[in-house]
């Protein structure tokens, strides 16, 4: 195994760079090291000015998503040994404004997320005697997959439509909408459909499918969006055939 590998880190320092530039660092290759460890090594030992986000180091917080050799990657879950002999090119997530180096601005996602009401919507108050909504394991299984999203936003970087239509609600937010729609305790499906069947909702998606490919949690946003389209289309058809129904 090679003793070292070159990492090319995209640097963007707004106070001096007009465009991002690449800076090369030589880092030791350890068998158990992930790409994030290489960045931490650069920051601790070589160049303390490199800016990047990370928190849990174990694929739960979703902070350390970056482009690694052009692919949206959770850097804490991608081993250096899988990228040898290098160089390993590390860039900020695509389709987001770059604040500094590898740090992007996520405000656009937070706005989109709020649009789909990712919480349990009820207007009737707690109805169960103990004030809780019971759920069977089968009911949990229906939405469990979509609840695994850690908001790492790799799917937004993988989606060409997000790049072309900056207002497109996007994969993770729609998958989270579907997570609550499929929850037996939730009553908000109609409100969410209003938000998602309009402009910049599900109809912007052309099923490229890359969001599902890059998802580190196997959430399958592409599936969520297509299921949403089918449900919405059948709903519209029903309203034409049975206009007196709801």
């Amino acid at each position: 195994m090679a003793a070292t590998v070159t990492v090319e880190v995209a640097r963007y320092r707004p106070e001096r760079d007009a465009e991002p530039v690449f800076q090369q660092y030589e880092v030791p290759v350890r068998h158990e090291w992930v790409v994030l460890d290489a960045l931490t090594h650069v920051k601790d030992e070589i160049d303390g000015s490199v800016a990047f986000r990370w928190s849990c180091r174990m694929g739960v917080c979703g902070s350390c998503g970056m482009m690694v050799n052009g692919q949206p990657t959770l850097t804490c879950a991608s081993y250096l040994t899988d990228h040898l002999p290098g160089p390993i090119r590390i860039e900020p997530l695509r389709h987001f404004p770059v604040i500094r180096d590898l740090v992007v601005d996520l405000a656009s996602f937070l706005r989109k997320l709020r649009r789909v009401k990712p919480w349990i919507v009820r207007d009737d108050g707690p109805v169960e005697p103990e004030g809780e909504y019971r759920q069977t394991p089968e009911e949990l299984e229906r939405y469990h997959q979509f609840s695994q999203c850690i908001n790492c936003l790799l799917c937004y970087s993988a989606c060409p439509i997000v790049g072309l239509e900056p207002d497109f609600t996007g994969p993770a937010a729609i998958a989270l909408a579907q997570r609550y729609n499929l929850d037996s305790r939730d009553r908000g499906a109609r409100e969410r459909l209003e938000a998602l069947s309009g402009d910049h909702g599900i109809w912007d998606c052309t099923f490229v499918g890359e969001c599902t490919e890059v998802c580190p949690k196997n959430v399958d946003p592409a599936g969520a969006i297509q299921q949403y389209k089918l449900a919405s289309a059948l709903d519209t058809l029903r309203s034409f055939v049975l206009p007196w129904g709801k």
């Binding site: 770059v98 937070l110 052309t206």
Partner: protein, 138 residues
């Protein structure tokens, strides 16, 4: 709250890369996607050929023979080989993507995607064989 989230949008010094017009050439995955979308041209062409065939048949035996001899022209045969490849790619990609849109549940459990794809492909083979058998008998 909304104000504090919106304000950074106008931060002048952030870097905002633009998507290239040739984004679909940047990775093979995107090119493959665009090729999948372009199979729709093969689909439309086939619809027009079917219409022309029916139209020629409506004009009588002579027109039909002329139409069929056109269809035998070498450049058209070559183009139809490409169209056929596009149609097969459409069928295969269509069937393999179908399970993500359609969640079929039997007895509370989701039917595995491979079973749906397999069922679709099997039905496709049967339908194709039946159509070719009919054409052979005609």
């Amino acid at each position: 709250m909304a104000g504090t989230l919106d304000a950074p949008r106008y931060h002048g010094r952030w870097h905002r890369p633009r998507t290239s017009v040739f984004w679909w050439l940047e990775s093979w995955r995107y090119t493959r996607f665009v090729l999948r979308e372009l199979t729709s041209v093969c689909v439309a062409w086939t619809a027009l050929v079917l219409m022309a065939y029916v139209g020629a048949a409506g004009l009588g035996a002579e027109a039909l023979a002329t139409f069929l001899s056109w269809m035998g022209a070498p450049w058209l045969v070559a183009w139809h080989v490409v169209v056929l490849a596009g149609l097969v790619y459409h069928s295969v990609s269509w069937f393999s993507l179908a399970p993500s849109a359609m969640v079929v549940r039997v007895g509370g459990r989701r039917v595995p995607a491979s079973l749906i794809v397999g069922g679709n492909v099997a039905a496709w083979v049967v339908v194709s064989a039946a159509l070719l058998w009919l054409a052979g008998r005609a």
